[in-house]
């Protein structure tokens, strides 16, 4: 097997952009958990990192919105946001076009996916990379699931996509790491920004750690919207990693709601051993 790492983390822009406005004690514990995740990632010695993200209209718009997309380029520029606003400088992140191509070919055996030879990273990928590959030296294969503009792919199709991704990765000779990024419950960039349903988040994370397919698919977008906000649609990234982890059990290394970051901040990994 060539999947050497699987985990999830938060990506909200406030995590970097509004760092100075959070409780420093809670914030620094979160940052330490991110750094621990970086060390776990590095210990897995990956050749490339597949990031399953939920981008926010940086590349994909309602004129032609793919449910699933994979980048296929030798480099990606980001962040698309004002670097001062996000507190992450502009950088060119390495990709590997031919590796992307092989992964896309593999995924397409089982699931439909759009490919993109251009991709501007927004905070959804840049914030995780800022912590996990701070030198931006690990080749990235970006994956996007539309979690922003309904209609959205139903969760059982997301699960099938995760399984297809795993099958494709398993056929690679390279050592591949896989990270999903998204919020759990949140109401981002709206007047309700900062609202977090901690009980709902912890229940989702419990299902995620048990990697209980039936429990993870026992949501629908109506109840997600009511209980977890439109940001809750991003659990699709977490479910993709669960499906790809193929029954592995998970551990939550950090979870705490941080309202000024607009999300329950999360770091969690699966044990692939």
């Amino acid at each position: 097997m060539s999947l050497v790492f699987a985990g999830v983390c938060s990506h909200a822009p406030g995590i970097t952009g509004r760092a100075d406005r959070a409780d420093p004690v809670v914030r620094d514990r979160f940052y330490a958990a991110f750094d621990d995740m970086r060390q776990r990632l590095e210990a897995a010695r990956p050749d490339a990192l597949v990031v399953v993200a939920a981008e926010h209209f940086a590349n994909f718009f309602m004129n032609n919105m793919p449910s699933f997309a994979i980048g296929m380029a030798d480099s990606y520029d980001g962040p698309i946001e004002d670097p001062a606003w996000l507190a992450i400088p502009k950088v060119r992140v390495p990709g590997r076009r031919e590796l992307s191509r092989r992964i896309i070919d593999g995924v397409m055996q089982h699931a439909d996916v759009a490919y993109a030879e251009e991709w501007l990273f927004d905070h959804g990928i840049m914030v995780p990379l800022h912590f996990l590959t701070p030198r931006f030296d690990l080749p990235i294969v970006p994956v996007n699931i539309n979690c922003q503009g309904p209609p959205l792919a139903p969760l059982h199709r997301v699960w099938a996509f995760g399984e297809a991704l795993r099958a494709a990765i398993d056929a690679m000779p390279e050592r591949i790491a896989l990270v999903g990024t998204g919020g759990i419950s949140h109401w981002p960039a709206t007047p309700d920004s900062g609202k977090i349903n901690e009980a709902w988040d912890r229940d989702l994370l419990d299902r995620w750690c048990r990697n209980d397919r039936d429990a993870l698919l026992d949501y629908d977008d109506t109840t997600i919207y009511a209980d977890a906000g439109q940001g809750g649609f991003e659990i699709r990234t977490y479910l993709t990693i669960s499906a790809a982890a193929a029954g592995a059990q998970g551990t939550v290394h950090f979870y705490a709601p941080i309202p000024i970051f607009a999300v329950g901040c999360t770091v969690a990994t699966y044990d692939l051993s």
């Binding site: 406030g14 952009g17 509004r18 100075d20 406005r21 959070a22 409780d23 420093p24 809670v26 926010h56 209209f57 940086a58 590349n59 718009f61 309602m62 004129n63 698309i80 946001e81 004002d82 606003w85 501007l120 922003q148 503009g149 309904p150 109401w187 981002p188 960039a189 709206t190 007047p191 309700d192 920004s193 900062g194 609202k195 977090i196 919207y225 906000g229 439109q230 709601p257 941080i258 309202p259 000024i260």
Partner: protein
């Protein structure tokens, strides 16, 4: 009402530095290629965050428009609230307002404290 066209303009503006420069130099001119109502055109020229949110512009698009205008985060959230108060609920799109208590009150309830040296509005 053409929410799609409003969001399409903002999508391009957010990712295209040349359109940003054009918009800075001539706001109305930068809108010429988009099929907008007069109300939408005015909201975009005047950067009326509250009215744009009332139209239903996705916050993930709108927050970058606010940042382009140098509108600070708490002020951005307040302008959306003010827009809803002035114009009524979001017309279309994905948003419902849930009556959130506000960031400061939420953080305080969790026992978190704001970092020193920041001044907050009463509801952020």
């Amino acid at each position: 009402m053409s929410l799609y066209q409003v969001q399409k303009f903002l999508y391009h503006l957010n990712r295209d530095p040349r359109l940003q420069a054009e918009y800075r130099a001539d706001r109305a001119g930068a809108l010429a290629d988009f099929e907008l109502t007069d109300e939408e055109r005015t909201a975009l020229v005047e950067a009326d965050i509250g009215l744009l949110f009332h139209f239903g512009v996705n916050g993930q698009i709108l927050m970058h428009f606010a940042a382009l205008h140098g509108i600070e985060w708490s002020d951005y959230l307040q302008r959306m609230r003010d827009g809803i108060a002035a114009h009524g609920p979001v017309r279309e799109g994905v948003y419902a307002i849930t009556g959130y208590e506000g960031v400061d009150e939420h953080a305080a309830r969790l026992g978190q404290r704001a970092a020193s040296g920041t001044s907050e509005r009463a509801r952020t």
